[in-house]
Amino acid sequence: MTETKELVKKLADKYGRARESLMPILQGVIEEERFVSSEAMTEIARELDIASAEVYGTATFYSFLDTQPRGKYVIRVCKTITCDMHGKKKVIEKIEDLLKIKLGETTQDKKFTLLTTNCLGWCHQGPVMLINSTPYPSLDENKVTEIIMDYMSK
């Protein structure tokens, strides 16, 4: 049994095999593997006994359910209005500079992926980013450097 197959089975045992279990299972796969591979989608379809197209359709609807390979740490910088006004562009450029990747890319060692996202709900403390599920508000170039360096040494 492959690791993905095992993971999907474990998640289905935990959340059940009804249609309403699909989101928690997809979220569980993301938690472990950072993206939902076609293998994972096929396995989920088999476990839940639904068409794999249904799994694909649901997964691709949600922006956090990535279907492309992602790094261990997925960075999502908020690009909505107040973060935009307060220097999101500089924060993104700084991260690009530090990780030597462009927006949308993953580092060669598969450790980081840099993305933007819509409003994260920290408008009073923008710019803000998420690294996986942890929010980092009140960013500037210095602060973001500190945080990214910290993750780089992990």
Binding site: A18, R19, E20, S21, L22, M23, P24, L26, Q27, I30, G57, T58, F61, Y62, S63, F64, L65, K79, T80, I81, T82, D84, M85, T117, N118, C119, L120, G121, W122, C123, H124, Q125, G126, L130, S133, T134, P135
Partner: protein, 386 residues
């Protein structure tokens, strides 16, 4: 400050004893709770402003035995962060409100739909949920609450899209009617309320409808939690009485150079400086889910509108043509005018398109794009062109 009344209802003290208001409210009958809610005049705090008590009454009247309570914690409107603050500071009040609603409508199960962006709150919420379930058991109240996570889709804040998502599907809004009070999550009668609305319900049970009604105006009862951001020295959460003028608001929160305020987020209205005096914040004027974004003279309103349209174009679920194609065309259109590829009169055509979206889009997202679009284009036309 004299013109604004600060309130401490939402974040203020609950009770020393855990779940005390819930315990005392459970002694009331379903009818008593609903009557109190209706008398309070509380309107939903998500932004749409439907009378909460009526929503509860309609659901209670349904003969179907299985009913649900859903808490909409999919706060995604740009400029809004008050639900995150409420869930961080007073989750007990939120769970109490859901449990009181369960008693009022005869539901045994509640769901909280929490947006994926707030996943970091989950451990604390789960811990509080354990405390809730312990107390519910002790009070003999057969009502359990489960938290379901979103995964980064603004549209799931639309109630029927949220139901679809809980059911494990794409978050595409349903046709209405039927309304949730008749057919909501799992096609059962459902009350769905905003996080803040449930907290208000608890405070109404604690202090009574009469006390609650003393706050606000006849059309907008109670207080409101505002999320204030943008060009302001006082960005953050402020709980204020409803019914103030925008001029008073700006005097308190502006930076002295405020040229426009976006009331109600990207899907709300942009009010220019010349209309601050006549604009009332509340259901009798400009309604808001609490999002207030201030812009000073250094900001280009073209950039602001561009940012909103980028947002809507990405977050449109793509199900209905007016919204899917409309958002793309509005974005392309303002680009073309700005670059001089289209004459300035083209803006009138775009305004017509946004009006069409308002009446033809399937859900609130597509319908409300016109709010910010027309209020920005009409009030800041020269910024769109030059």
């Amino acid at each position: 400050m004299e013109n604004l009344k600060r309130v401490d209802l939402i974040f203020g003290a609950y009770t020393n004893e855990k779940y005390k208001v819930l315990e005392s409210t459970l002694k009331k009958s379903s009818e008593q709770i609903i009557t109190e809610m209706i008398n309070s005049g509380l309107k939903g705090r998500g932004g749409a402003g439907f009378l909460t008590g009526l929503k509860w009454k309609f659901t209670a009247q349904e003969s179907e035995p299985t009913k649900y309570v859903v808490c909409n914690a999919d706060e995604g409107e740009p400029g809004t962060f008050k639900d995150r603050e409420i869930l961080t500071k007073v989750p007990r009040k939120v769970f109490s409100g859901m449990a009181i609603c369960g008693k009022a409508i005869g539901a045994k199960k509640g769901y909280m739909y929490l947006r994926g962006e707030y996943q970091y709150l989950l451990p604390d919420l789960m811990a509080e949920l354990d405390v809730y379930h312990e107390h519910a058991k002790r009070f003999n109240h057969d009502f359990t609450i489960e938290i379901r996570m979103g995964s980064g889709a603004y549209i799931c804040g639309e109630e029927s899209a949220l139901f679809e998502s809980i059911e494990g599907k794409r978050g595409e809004p349903r046709n209405k009617p039927p309304y949730p009070t008749v057919s909501g999550v799992f096609s059962k009668p459902t009350v769905i309320n905003n996080v803040e609305t449930f907290v208000n319900a608890v405070m109404i049970m604690k202090y009574g409808a009469e006390e609650f009604k003393k706050l606000g105006t006849s059309d907008s009862r109670g207080s409101k939690v505002f999320s204030i951001s943008g060009d302001t020295p006082k960005a953050g959460i402020h709980e204020l009485e409803l019914g103030m003028t925008l001029a008073d608001f700006v005097a308190e929160f502006g930076d002295g150079d405020t040229k426009a305020v976006q009331v109600g987020g990207a899907s709300g209205f942009c009010v220019p400086r010349k209309k601050f005096n006549e604009t009332i914040i509340g259901f009798e004027g400009v309604p808001t889910g609490g999002s207030m974004m201030l812009f000073n003279s250094s900001r280009s309103m073209y950039n602001v509108l561009h940012n909103y349209l980028d947002f809507f174009e990405e977050e449109s679920c793509g199900q209905c043509t007016p919204c899917r194609v409309g958002c793309q065309q509005l974005l392309k259109g303002i680009h073309a005018v700005k670059k001089g590829e289209k004459p300035s009169s083209y803006l009138n055509q775009l305004l017509q398109l946004s009006d069409t979206m308002k009446i033809t889009a399937k859900c609130g997202l597509g319908q409300s794009v016109a709010n910010s679009f027309s209020s920005i284009v009409e009030n800041f036309k020269e910024e769109m062109i030059y």
